[in-house]
Amino acid sequence: MKIVIVDYGMGNIKSISSTLIYLGVSDVILSSKYEELAQADKIILPGVGSFSQAMKQIVLNKIDLTLADLVMNKKKPLLGICLGMQLLGMSSTEDGFSKGLCFIDGVVTLFENPKLDLKIPHVGFNQVNPDANSLLYKNITGTPDFYFTHSYKMLSTASISASMCTYGEKFVASFEVDNIAGVQFHPELSQNNGLKLLQNFIDRF
């Protein structure tokens, strides 16, 4: 099993790669090159930082084109994590308005805080309501806790098999559309729940 983590200069690569290795993935590499991503069995799009900054890097390195081909055309399984999940959407208002990769229909905006009683960012473990059709949560029962750390969240009106979480409002904690999955939380920092979810991505996508 070869998993390639997309390298665009942003993302906590070490945590993700050591978790994948722990789960027994034999080949984990970091790359932004088309050739290497093309050889991957699965791709992970990580992300830490600002949406607009990330998109700049991605476009600069032509990663948007690479992923559009490999993921949308050639249907390679892709898991976006945290900012990586948000980048798969249509747009975000973080740092001004930025267009995303537009792989799925979802829009990213700041958490609503009308009564100013929410602490932003949303940091810590929170429960996710797994969608009935989800593959990511197979064998994870109940409303499992995962680690979130973000100020911006995704909403979607489309049918993307979204599993929701609530923080002031309901927002997309994860989605799955064919070969593309995205998780707002960090499975590599979510104890056993996260390990099981990553295993599901490895086994079922």
């Binding site: 945590s15 932003i120 960012p121 940091v123 806790d145 680690y147």
Partner: protein
Amino acid sequence: MLRKRIIFSLIYSQSFFTQSRNFRLQKVGNLQWLEKNYKFQDIAFSLDELVVIDASKGKKSISEFANMISQLVNDVFIPICAGGGIKSMSDAELLFKNGADKIIMNTSIYENAALVKELIQRYGSQSIVASVDYKRLNNKKEVYISDGTRKINLNLEEYLAYIESLNVGEIYLNSIDKDGTGFGYDFDSIREVSASLSKPLIIAGGAGNEKHLIEGLSIQGVSAVATANLFNFIGDGLPNARKTIIDSGQNIADWSKYY
């Protein structure tokens, strides 16, 4: 519903993990000692997060520290927050590269607002935790930087307001008076400042047993409780504490259910 968190803080100084008492450090053991007596791979299930602080007095070696972090994070699947002595973008980069999920800064928050802004822009505000050390004198709360050695001109309330304006992710508030005493957090000060904060608040300094952790978690404005007490929580101390805390009804994730 967002859970509250139980955090363990490791106070590191020149290759050793230490027990801090009012910021006087006692060397306790190195990474091998820690692994033997704390078995982080096992007790990580009693924790929500790890904070590792380089509190070495004098010159800190960020490369040695980063190296230690990279060994510590193996097989530990919770967020790691690392820091102490971060003075530049490359310092921060090194820690992130070696496994830190967040960084914690103290002196630089006060002295280098430009660096803080740049870090937030590059890594996102949620990646930066501002650490604040303070002492209580009569009814005033005085803020100290540089591992508790230099007093600054702002009192705690003023300084916290400034930090919030920088838009860091979280605040780690540490009482120098209570540090290592095992007597419990400085609840008076915490209650005085927590209500007005808009950033998540982690409290530290003085926790000796689960009763203190429970009392801390019960305060509405507190998002997480941290302890750096290596001795009090050694062995089965943390798993037992977590079980008691959950049984008492606190909103903490129950990892035992998912083994």
